[in-house]
Structure formats: C-alpha cells, structure tokens
Amino acid sequence: MSDLPAPDERARLAAALAAHVRVVRPGTSANCSSIGSVVDMLFAGGVVGGALFAAACAALTADPAERREAPDRDDEAPGEREDDR
C-alpha cells in the first residue's frame, strides 16, 4: 500500500478486510523473559472481541505498510545504512 486511501476508500477497505483478519494480538508486551499475551479479552464477551477486530481493520487502513522482508543477507535493516545514523 503506497498511498493513504481516501476516507470512503478506507471504510470500504476496512469492511473488505474484516473477512481476512485471522488474529488480533492486542497490546505491547514488555517482558524480557517469556512471551506474554493479553487474556482479559477472553472473558470480555463477543461484543468486545468484535470491537477489537473492527478496530484492527480500521487501523490497518490508516497508514501505508512498511514491509519487512524475509531475511536476505544482502538486505539492510532500516537505520542500518550509515546515512540513517
């Protein structure tokens, strides 16, 4: 996605995405020792879960995606180039 879509187009895209979002893993884990997952959603009921997925669809249309490629020995990570530093 190279350009930010117009609002109407964003709404259409979000609706289209709804059938294709498989996983929404909310939050930011800041633990350094084991991988953590939010679980309060498990007990919040379907309405809250549905809202989370809807929020994800809307957010997916909000910014162009910066693609992270599969590892390639010739690729440089963002900021790895001298002129990024």
């Binding site: 294709h20 498989r22 884990s29 800041a30 679980v39 162009p64 995606a65 910066e66 693609r67 992270r68």
Partner: protein
C-alpha cells in the same frame, strides 16, 4: 505499521492502537502486500517476532530466584556488541526487542540503545527491577515504548519471591514512570505463596499507575533451578484455578490489562469455559521458544528463550538459527504426550513449558505440571 509475509498471509504490526494483526493472503493482498518467497511452495523459515536481549548480566539485587543468576560483577557487553545484535534482529525481520538482564539500568547507554533499536525499525521495550532509579535512569527508561517493573506484591509478598523486601522502591518506580507518562506494566511472579494475594498486588499496581500486569510462572532456571523450586511452584489446585482466577480479576479490574506468559497457557486447559478458538483469535502464545521468540544472552549466544540453555550460535547468525540443532530441538511442540494429542488447546499451548519439563523430567515435554498431563498420568498409573 510494519508488515511481514508469512506462509499463511502476513503479520502486520500496528502502533496505534498497539496490536499485532494476522491477515490471510487475500487480506494481505488487499493491503498491497506480496508474499514473495514466503508464499511459494517452499517458503523460507519464519524468523522470530520478538527477541529478548539480555543487555547485561550485572545486577546487585540478588533475587533468590533470578533465572539468569545475575550478579553485581556480571558481564556487561560493550555498546557496539549490543548494536550488532540489534542489527541482526532487525535484519531477521523481528518486530519487537525486549531489553532485560541482569538489570538494564546499570548500563549508561541504555537510552541510546533504545533509540538505536527504534532507528532499526524495532519496537524497544524493557524490564527493570525499578531499584536504584535515578533521574538519569528514568530518562533512559522513558525512551522505551513500554517499561515493565518487577513487582510481586506489597511487602512480604515481594520478599517471598525475591528474598528481600524492596516493594516500596518498586512501587516508587511504577509511580515515577507513570507520572512521566511512560506506559508502564508490572511483572508479577506467581508462586504458591503469592498466588492467593494476586488481586491485592494488581490493585496496588493499578493504583500506582500501571496499565497492565504480566503474570509469570515461576520457572526452574538460574538460581531457581534447585529443589526450592518444588516448594515454590504453584500447587496443582492453584494451577487448575488459573482460568477462574483470571476471570475474576478481569471483572474486578476493568480496563487493566491482564497478560499471562507462555508457560501459564497449559493451566488454562483445566478451564472448560475458555474457548480454544478465542486463544488463537486473540493471539495467545504458548511455548514459542526458538519460534516466535528467541533470546540473546549477555554473551551474545542465542537461546530458545531466556530460561533455556543457549546454543553456541551467536546473535549475529540469527538468520541461520533454523539450522541449529539445539534451537530446533526446542522449537517444535512437545511430542509423545497422550494428554496433548486431543487437547483442544494443543495448537496454542504446544505442550507447555519445556524449561519446567526439562528440569523435572529431563525431557523437553510435555509439561508435567499441566492439569491434563497430571490427570492422564494418574489414569495411566491407575490402569
């Protein structure tokens, strides 16, 4: 947002609201993403989503159960070494780097390392004891996207886990970070002594300004890899009650984030009201050692997770981790477990905590403390 193709579609990392979203291939195409080699018939291996980097093994706290056996004179790698590890993690395609130790705030360059990680496209987060924080150290912590403070409860509860009472200092750290507007959570280690007091610990953390709590299973690694582990681990009854306990806490603390670590997932198998599909939909991760997760020891060696023994492979060779035998042995789900074969949580749980299994049985699973495994073994012994 950042996106990474996977054989099944793509992961998309969003910053606002913060979430990791998995979309199928058609969804990825709607976002303009092309899976390239990852969507081929023989896709390359998926790199970790998250790397846990021990930026030091130096720490003066002396917690009885420290999983790294950190000491005041522990190894503190130079900045350039940490930077090289961050570059390797970014090149591999990970999204998040969690700094730990040892005590990360012992490093004078901590803030600069956070900035460096961000410049490389990684989301930097950090865990701290919160002990000995100065204004300068708070400045460094404020440069992370989230800070988690180790906090097991008030006074005696804290001392029961760590061997000394520094709860007030950890509480002051939570408040100071929250007052500065830094997203802050608490890491709470669950032992049989603290489990009954969990609600109080979380309520206190929330009152201090913490946004969420990360509940951690006590694990037999580092200084905790001793017989005392058997006295400190959760009782069978406590393990089986994790699901109802979480449900009650979620009701009592609305708006406060509840997280569990990978090692606690098998305990949810005792709660039939938890829908396995929901665990997958909400991205709950069980054992992701050497898979979605990799750890980097202070000496630079890669490990399946922070609690597992390291490989001889250095972090700079992260893109070759798939071929490393030690890392591969920890990657798969636990095999040979009759209790796991028909477990509805199996695909998420992946056999439970291999660190616990290795310590108590000598094998990499299944998790011998999982309620289903305990029940299956009791049936086998009774047959």
């Amino acid at each position: 947002m950042r996106a990474r193709a996977e054989p099944w579609g793509a992961w998309v990392k969003l910053d606002d609201p913060p979430m990791l979203v998995g979309v199928d291939r058609d969804g990825a195409r709607l976002l303009g993403l092309d899976g390239g080699a990852r969507w081929s018939d023989s896709p390359p291996p998926s790199p970790p989503l998250e790397a846990h980097v021990a930026v030091t093994s130096r720490c003066g706290a002396g917690c009885e159960g420290c999983y790294l056996d950190a000491t005041p004179d522990g190894l503190e790698p130079p900045s350039a070494a940490i930077e090289a590890r961050l570059v390797a993690i970014a090149r591999a395609g990970a999204f998040t780097v969690a700094f730990g130790g040892g005590e990360p705030t012992t490093r004078r360059d901590l803030g600069e390392l956070a900035d460096r990680a961000r410049a490389l496209g990684l989301q930097p987060v950090v865990t701290t004891s919160g002990l000995g924080l100065t204004a300068k150290k708070l400045d460094a912590l404020a440069r992370f996207d989230q800070v988690n403070v180790s906090y097991d409860g008030e006074g005696a509860r804290y001392a029961e886990v760590r061997g000394f009472d520094a709860a007030a200092e950890a509480e002051a750290a939570v408040r100071a970070l929250a007052d500065r507007g830094v997203p802050v959570g608490v890491n709470v280690v669950l032992t049989r002594a603290t489990f009954a007091h969990l609600a109080g610990a979380l309520a206190r953390a929330r009152a201090l300004g913490a946004r969420e709590a990360q509940l951690l299973r006590y694990k037999p690694a580092g200084r905790a890899a001793s017989l005392t582990y058997l006295d400190r681990r959760l009782t069978r009854s406590q393990a089986s009650s994790l699901g109802p306990t979480l449900r009650r806490l979620a009701a009592e603390l609305p708006g406060f984030g509840l997280r569990i670590d990978c090692a606690l997932v098998p305990f949810l198998s005792a709660d039939p009201s938890i829908a396995p599909g929901d665990l997958a939909r909400f991205g709950v991760f069980g054992c992701e050692a050497s898979a979605a997760l990799v750890a980097v020891r202070a000496d630079g060696r890669l490990a399946p997770c922070s609690f597992a023994p390291p490989s001889e492979l250095g972090a700079e060779a992260l893109d070759a981790m798939e071929a490393d035998g030690h890392l591969a042995a920890w990657r798969g789900p636990a095999s040979g477990a009759s209790a796991c074969g028909d477990c509805p949580l199996g695909a998420v749980c992946r056999g439970g905590c291999k660190v616990v299994a290795r310590f108590t049985t000598g094998a990499l699973g299944p998790d011998p403390e999982c309620p289903r495994v305990v029940a299956a073994r009791a049936r086998e012994e009774g047959a």
